[in-house]
């Protein structure tokens, strides 16, 4: 930005917006840190500062230390999963130009879930690494299928056709999943607890294998921020500004698929994070994806952490899975957003 600018000039206005965004960034990072502390400190058994400090240093000599040592990977998992889902939701809303899009709408989560359940039922799959590859494969296949169906006919892959194809695929995949699972009492319990979605069982052994996928997805998504800004103007205007529309859309979607597939493999399908978080972030920082994407990741992490903590508190001494909490927290927020903001026509 150039130096001397008259107040009220467009550049000065942009700078004001920038300051507001930096302030929000600071707030969000502080909130994330606070949520992480809550997640380590609060639970069925409460622990004090000393125990948290000890547990973080790897001590396991007291019960408090052990509790912290279990909660830390769980917190890491919630941060990763929440960030991945929030980011994937923002990217998918950008890719489809559909304000109601999320990994669920494009059939990606359902595809991943179907692949995992089929793997459990037919191939006796039980290992996390196997879940991971299967889920990403399923998510990718579902995304490709939805894109192929949505591209049929005149005008290519329009947002409306993509959303319709995604919704239909999602329902079909869910039905097939249920059909496969119902007669199989032997796997029903395992599938059900995985399906509800949770970060409770997270260990570093489960987290490590999905890190490369999450990292790749993160890079792809963040790299497509500028293309998503152009796609928001409509395909023709984007092409006129030099965007390679199909390539940009495919790259961003691949990033989102990696994020969703890896997250679904570990935690099961977690709903509403990808839908709600980008809308909240748009209220904070506007529609520029260079800001919206990182904010969606941070806010997604906060939301999932808070949902996880809430799930531990409301059902004491037992726990409620995070997927159930996000549905309870997310649905009203989403309805509020739809009522507050004019949701653009497709």
């Amino acid at each position: 930005m150039s130096g001397a600018l008259a107040p009220g000039s467009p550049q000065a206005g942009l700078r004001g917006v920038r300051h507001a965004r930096m302030a929000w960034l600071f707030v969000v990072i502080c909130a994330l840190a606070a949520a992480c502390l809550l997640s380590v400190g609060i639970g069925t058994r409460s622990v004090g500062w000393a125990e948290i400090a000890g547990g973080l240093r790897g001590h396991t000599d007291t019960l408090g230390h052990s509790v912290v040592a279990v909660r830390v990977p769980r917190t890491v998992m919630a941060v990763l999963a929440g960030a991945a889902l929030g980011l994937a939701g923002a990217v998918m809303q950008g890719v489809t130009r559909n304000p109601l899009a999320d990994p669920g709408i494009l059939g990606v989560n359902a595809g991943a879930a179907m692949a995992v359940v089929l793997g459990m039922a037919w191939f006796g799959m039980a290992r996390l690494e196997a879940f991971l590859w299967t889920a990403i494969l399923g998510a990718g296949l579902a995304a490709c299928f939805v894109y192929a169906v949505g591209s049929l006919g005149r005008g290519g892959a329009t947002p409306l056709k993509l959303a319709l194809a995604g919704a239909a695929t999602s329902i079909a995949a869910s039905s097939l999943t249920v059909a496969v699972m119902l007669p199989r009492n032997d796997i029903a319990g395992g599938v059900r607890s995985w399906q509800v979605g949770g970060v409770g069982g997270a260990t570093y052994d489960a987290i490590l294998p999905c890190l490369p996928f999450l990292a790749a997805g993160l890079m792809l998504c963040l790299a497509s921020a500028r293309s998503l800004n152009l796609l928001a103007l409509g395909d023709e205007a984007a092409a006129g500004l030099g965007a390679r529309v199909d390539r940009a859309r495919a790259g961003a979607a691949l990033g989102a698929v990696l994020l969703c597939g890896a997250t679904t493999a570990i935690c099961g399908p977690i709903g509403f994070v990808g839908l709600v978080v980008p809308h909240l972030c748009r209220l904070l920082v506007g529609v520029d994806h260079r800001w919206l994407l990182p904010f969606s990741a941070l806010t997604g992490a906060i939301l999932l952490l808070c949902a996880d903590v809430l799930g531990r508190v409301v059902a004491r001494p037992s726990e409620m899975d995070v997927g159930i909490v996000t549905a309870f927290v997310g649905a009203p927020v989403f309805i509020w957003i739809v009522r507050q903001r004019r949701v653009r026509d497709l």
Partner: protein, 282 residues
């Protein structure tokens, strides 16, 4: 800067089995304002989509300064040739300044930062379209005429030699139509931008364009100055409409007055037509 030459050579293009454009060849006068006119579904927008590389022709090619646009990197092309589609989308809540800044995209590298040149181009574009005072407003709060000026500002910020516009005056009232077309003439004279637009209104096209291209059934029926193209015979062939062409007293350009079945004076009733069927006395 020498004015760029944009040509279409033997274009055949469409969306299904039957092509909309059939072996169409044209050269757009460099540094001029061209208007593509024709009846609905004659291929006007298809031609514009081919020229801007949105639609890949089945046969033939679009050539910019002797190079096929297919062979040019997308970003290079976007620095030479701008496009304002008929219905671009303004993201919810985006400000005018942000939207206009998008015009700089083809000038920015993958990692290069926003520069003074980008700032200057955006400020120039806002000033040229008299939208500077709107810069911090949200685009979706603006009136139709203001919004169209903002979109044109975005295309200006792109700083291309050629600007293609698909019906830039649709949805605007007559005062705003004239305003937008005046703005395009400013741009053509001030920056030497070659302007190519699809226009519905024949009279505005004849008044504002230096070069008219009349399409019929995916082929060029006539191309040339407004005086050469806007004739009673060509309007009859292109639109199937009988008309009277007179000189527009305000511009000296030709303008056409359609002959309908009703409300015609005796002298201008369409030749060979019955007198008014509803029995109105002549």
């Amino acid at each position: 800067m020498t004015a760029p030459t944009l040509q279409a050579l033997g274009l055949r293009a469409g969306y299904g089995a039957t092509p909309i454009l059939k072996d169409l060849t044209l050269a757009l006068p460099p540094g001029g304002i061209s208007a593509i006119v024709g009846a609905n579904a004659c291929g006007k927008s298809t031609l514009l989509r081919c020229l801007s590389r949105l639609l890949r022709p089945e046969r033939g090619q679009v050539v910019l300064d002797g190079r096929s646009v297919r062979d040019m990197p997308t970003r290079d092309l976007a620095r030479r040739l701008g496009l304002l589609p008929q219905a671009p989308i303004a993201p919810d809540g985006i400000t005018v300044a942000d939207l206009v800044s998008h015009g700089r995209h083809p000038h920015q590298g993958l990692l290069s930062r926003w520069t003074r040149a980008d700032d200057a181009a955006v400020a120039d574009a806002l000033a040229a379209t008299r939208t500077a005072e709107l810069a911090e407003r949200a685009v979706d709060e603006l009136s139709g005429g203001q919004r169209q000026r903002v979109w044109i500002a975005m295309a200006l910020a792109q700083e291309t030699d050629i600007l293609l516009l698909d019906e830039p005056t649709t949805f605007l009232d007559i005062a705003h139509q004239v305003e937008v077309l005046d703005l395009l003439v400013d741009l053509n004279r001030g920056r030497g931008t070659t302007v190519v637009m699809v226009l519905h209104d024949l009279n505005l096209a004849a008044r504002y364009a230096d070069h008219l291209i009349a399409l019929r059934d995916g082929q060029i029926r006539a191309a040339g100055t407004p005086a050469e193209v806007l004739t009673e015979e060509i309007v009859q062939q292109v639109f199937g409409l009988s008309c009277v062409v007179i000189e527009d007293p305000t511009s000296g350009r030709p303008m056409m007055l359609p002959r309908g079945r009703h409300r015609m004076t005796q002298a201008h009733r369409a030749p060979g037509r019955d007198p008014e069927p509803d029995g109105t006395p002549p």
